[in-house]
């Protein structure tokens, strides 16, 4: 007892010294006695507060009948915080079984490192499906986190992949509508500064979600287009091809498909291949060939100079020397006196070349440009090309080239550009803006794309005259008779363009095309068919029958009545076009 009494003051002093140390440290914080405190304070204001990003939901994409073309879903990724796992061996066993992974490997990754420090987070697997994620969630292992990854799904797969485009894992849109409307679809993320406190959770602002889009595309038409295209490819052993269906009155794209179709999953593999074009209908340029002659004829009538009108005639010799080169018709046979109309109907190269030599480049090129050649149409899809028109100012321009342009060689255009030019003729000379988004939904607000005229390259009279010639072109006995459809007046024109090869043009490979619309007197549907290297050289033998097959199915699907019924309805005041996508 004595020694305790003697020594307890020493112990108390010892404790007092220790307490004084603590006291000093506490005071040093408040009275800034420690120099590093001030420094610490400067950085303290931002510490503990971090910026949290609230991601919006990407807008959905529908076809015109509200069939879902692009929708959001989730995949999941699984990770573990090893220090929180109670029984590592058991956890490894369970997770390995569900995730199909090596048990020993998982167990090893759950162990601390050489310093005894556990890794903060171990990524195990992902993306995994919703079902697997549920199983793991039910295991209820402490420390295991299941994190959702937003996933864009395209229920229509290859049917609409080319027009819709895709998003990557960072939810950035590429190509088609996804690419063009990326910012609209993505919405706006909200960034909030949060300290992670509980009571702030209820005040979280909502991100403004992306807008949803309704396309002018009709899934059923798209299906018919794809099926017809597939049949044509198989029948004519073509290497590729494109079909576009539009409403020439409004510029709406109803169907658009190119061969071969693909799914979004195939894109990484395909994009590695040389010459891959995501959507050839708008991104691939070709020399259109004779389909261009309807544009040439429109330009000739529009300029209307030097007696160049419907009564114009010339002496056809089969081949002609012009601008230092020989230009021949496809059959190279002299036909004597030929009038304006038959130049198109018989598809005479010498005739259109003669027209251009009469008009001259100064008047041709402005009109060609106002027909939309040489620049993108501005359709609302990413990945569009503009084609090439060599202007006289260009060093590559020559007069021979200029004459070639009259029958569609030496000029390149996308299928959409070509169809757009023909649509202008169908729509009485008024060019409409081609577009694919019909309606935009921004929350409760609905924005409908209005038909937008973008120019008038030719007058209504010229357009009607050309339409008449195009109707005659597909009459029985003519080259393009296979394009005609019984009961309907079709206006159309085929094209057979030589494919360029190194050092010239191929004599066996062609771009076979057909462009046309119906009914000719009141067009509501137009289409272009382009086939790449079909086994028969001529467009009239391949693209025209394909157009025929396509239109025969589309008039049924779209409930377009045959001419006699339609005219009858017109007389009784009824509306011949009942279905929405027609008007």
């Amino acid at each position: 007892m004595e020694i305790i009494n003697r020594r307890s003051p020493i112990v108390l002093i010892w404790l007092a010294v220790l307490s004084a140390l603590l006291l000093g440290q506490l005071l040093s914080f408040q009275f800034r006695l420690n120099p590093s405190i001030t420094q610490f304070e400067e950085s303290a204001s931002t510490r503990g507060i971090y910026t949290e990003r609230i991601n919006p939901n990407r807008g959905q994409i529908y076809d015109r009948d509200m069939v879902v073309l692009a929708v959001n879903s989730f995949e999941y990724r699984v990770g573990v915080s090893p220090s929180l796992v109670v029984d590592r061996r058991e956890a490894a066993t369970q997770l390995a079984a569900v995730l199909n992974l090596n048990e020993a490997d998982i167990y090893r990754r759950l162990q601390p490192d050489l310093n005894g420090v556990f890794p903060q987070f171990v990524f195990l697997a992902g993306p995994i499906s919703d079902a697997t994620a549920r199983v793991i969630e039910d295991l209820d292992i402490n420390g295991v986190t299941i994190e959702p990854i937003p996933l864009r799904s395209y229920p229509q797969d290859y049917l609409t992949a080319q027009v819709v485009g895709f998003v990557n894992y960072s939810e950035e849109g590429f190509f088609g509508v996804e690419g063009q409307y990326d910012r609209v679809l993505a919405g706006t993320a909200r960034e909030i500064e949060t300290s992670g406190t509980i009571y702030e959770l209820s005040e979280r602002p909502e991100a403004s979600d992306g807008q949803s889009l309704v396309l002018t595309i009709d899934r059923d038409i798209q299906f018919v287009v794809t099926e017809v295209l597939q049949e044509a490819i198989q029948t004519y052993h073509a290497e590729g091809g494109t079909i576009i269906v539009m409403n020439p009155r409004t510029g709406e794209i109803l169907g658009m498909q190119s061969w071969p179709p693909f799914e979004v999953e195939d894109v990484p593999e395909l994009s590695g291949k040389a010459g891959f074009v995501y959507n050839p209908a708008i991104g691939f340029t070709f020399e259109p060939g004779s389909v261009m002659k309807v544009v040439t004829a429109s330009i000739a009538l529009q300029v209307n100079e030097a007696g160049l009108d419907l009564n114009w005639t010339y002496n056809n010799t089969g081949c002609m020397e012009m601008a230092g080169v020989t230009i021949c018709d496809s059959d190279r046979v002299a036909k004597g006196n030929v009038d304006f109309r038959n130049c198109i109907i018989k598809s005479l190269n010498t005739c259109t070349a003669t027209w251009y030599s009469i008009i001259g480049p100064a008047k041709v090129y402005p009109l060609l440009q106002s027909f939309g050649f040489g620049k993108p149409t501005g359709v609302d899809m990413e990945g569009e090309e503009g084609g090439i028109v060599n202007l006289p100012s260009s060093p590559r321009w020559s007069e021979a080239d200029f004459l070639n342009v009259s029958y569609g060689q030496g000029i390149s255009a996308t299928p959409l550009q070509m169809l757009n030019a023909v649509n202008t003729i169908a729509n009485d000379g008024l060019m409409m803006q081609p577009h694919i988004v019909k309606v935009r939904y921004d929350g409760p607000y609905r924005f409908e794309t209005q038909p937008n005229p973008v120019g008038r390259p030719i007058s209504e009279e010229v357009a009607n005259a050309i339409t008449d010639i195009m109707v005659d072109t597909v009459q029985a006995g003519e080259y393009d008779e296979r394009g005609a459809i019984e009961g309907y007046t079709v206006a159309g024109k085929t094209g057979t363009a030589q494919q360029p090869t190194p050092g010239g043009y191929s004599v066996t490979d062609s771009w076979a095309s057909f462009v046309g619309f119906l009914p000719a007197d009141d067009p509501i549907i137009s289409a272009i068919v382009v086939l790449d290297r079909p086994d028969q050289y001529w467009g009239s033998l391949t693209a025209a029958p394909t157009f025929n097959l396509l239109m025969r199915r589309l008039v049924v699907l779209m409930e377009i009545p045959p001419d006699n019924i339609r005219l009858q309805l017109n007389q009784t005041g009824g509306d011949p076009f009942s279905r929405d996508y027609v008007r």
Partner: protein
């Protein structure tokens, strides 16, 4: 009725009142402990809201508070019970208690729940034998040291067995691994050893040994070394300190002099790790400010100071060492916790006694308070407050069973455990000569 009251026997009433109000133990000591517990209850509620929310799937903010309240009730029962029982009984069971503690430590090592990379608990984390070990070691050391007395200075009787006992226990706890509990036990027992009359030279040797051991720990055990390296960096520049330390310093800076107000702190929401257990002092610093944290510090000072007064007036060496040991253990734990929170010591998980959430810690600390109060009661029974100027006790009517018994050195053969034997009235004079 009124008149009936007036007719009460005045002297009887005064006698009853005096008996009820005359507390036969150190009131200040109890008050300090009770106020600390009350502060703890308040602060656990404030600091555990976030943790409760997470633990109950966002359905309750009082989950940990309720459990703390339950622990407090259990603690009060232990405190009251131990206070009522004569502490000298425990001397007889100290060896048994120690053996049980060692067994439970071994069980923890073998089958315990691994939490936060360490095996420290039993029964799904609800019981931490490391906490109970602190009390058991204090109890056992008090008994053992009391049985040694003057022979402590002999190396074979004092230093060697002491080193072995404390060393073995600490090694068991370090293997969990729980460095902080081992340090707390080591410091407490060493100070008790000093109090009980250890040789200065031997203490110096122990100090050197401990430093050597610490050096080996710090250089050979990666777990300890990484912690120490991190700490040395942090001491140089607080902005480079680890997140835990930074968060608690931020809390003190937020709190300033008077605090942001009870429940108004923000550091407890995700920023401070374990806000309701290890980091509760930082929450106090933020919400109650410098004044609040100094207040808590003052309560501990009062508690320890009064505890030492009890130790000095204890009727026997065992009681004196027991009271001092409990106070030392609480003081060291509190200081270690506060030192961690104020960035003096590298982060280590040690609870703030009476205040931190944690059943084992709270119940053990309150049980310790009960033991000290029992010492205080026994002291007051044999040494009522009226002494003469020389400190001689005037009233000598000490009940027979209250008489201090000194171990008879010549009879004592058990080198490990002290033994309590019924005393004889004839020894009274000898005890008085001692003190």
């Amino acid at each position: 009725m009124r008149e009936h009251y007036l007719q009460l026997d005045e002297t009887r009433v005064a006698s009853v009142r005096r008996r009820l109000l005359t507390l036969d133990f150190d009131v200040y000591f109890l008050l300090a402990a009770v106020v600390l517990c009350a502060v703890g209850l308040l602060m656990v509620y404030s600091a555990s809201i976030s943790a409760s929310y997470l633990a109950t799937d966002d359905s309750s903010t009082t989950y940990f508070f309720n459990r703390h309240l339950r622990n407090l009730v259990i603690g009060l029962i232990f405190m009251g019970g131990l206070m009522a029982i004569d502490y000298r009984i425990w001397r007889r069971y100290s060896l048994l208690i120690m053996l049980l503690t060692i067994t439970s430590l071994l069980i923890v090592l073998g089958f315990g729940q691994e939490r936060l990379a360490a095996q420290r608990s039993l029964f799904r984390g609800s019981i931490q034998p490391g906490e109970f070990a602190k009390l058991a070691v204090v109890l056992y050391m008090a008994a053992w040291l009391a049985s040694r007395q003057k022979r402590l200075k002999q190396i074979t009787y004092g230093l060697l067995p002491f080193s072995f006992l404390v060393g073995a226990t600490c090694v068991l706890i370090i293997s969990q691994p729980d460095l902080s509990t081992a340090a707390s036990i080591g410091a407490t027992t060493l100070t008790m050893f000093f109090l009980a009359g250890a040789d200065w030279l031997q203490l110096g040797a122990i100090g050197a040994g401990a430093m050597g051991f610490g050096y080996v720990l710090a250089t050979q055990i990666t777990y300890a070394r990484t912690r120490i390296d991190q700490h040395l960096d942090a001491i140089r520049d607080l902005t480079k300190a680890n997140d835990h330390v930074q968060a608690s310093v931020e809390a003190f800076l937020n709190g300033n002099l008077f605090g942001v107000g009870l429940g108004e702190g923000t550091q407890k929401f995700g920023r401070l790790p374990f806000p309701h257990t290890d980091s509760i002092f930082a929450v106090i610093g933020e919400e109650l400010g410098l004044v609040g944290s100094l207040g808590v510090l003052a309560l501990f000072v009062i508690l320890v100071y009064r505890g030492f007064i009890i130790a000095r007036s204890a009727p026997d060496t065992f009681g004196s060492l027991l009271a001092a040991g409990v106070c030392l253990w609480i003081a060291y734990d509190a200081m270690l916790n506060i030192a961690v929170m104020t960035a003096l010591v590298p982060p280590t998980g040690v609870p703030l006694p009476f205040i931190s959430f944690g059943g084992s810690s709270l119940v053990t600390a309150m049980a310790g308070v009960g033991l000290v109060l029992s010492v205080s009661r026994q002291a007051s029974r044999i040494t009522p407050p009226n002494r003469d100027k020389a400190g001689m006790i005037l009233n000598l009517d000490v009940p027979e069973d209250m008489v201090e018994v000194e171990e008879d050195d010549s009879v004592e053969t058990d080198s490990v455990g002290g033994r309590y034997r019924r005393g004889h009235i004839s020894r009274v004079s000898r005890r008085r000569q001692d003190s």
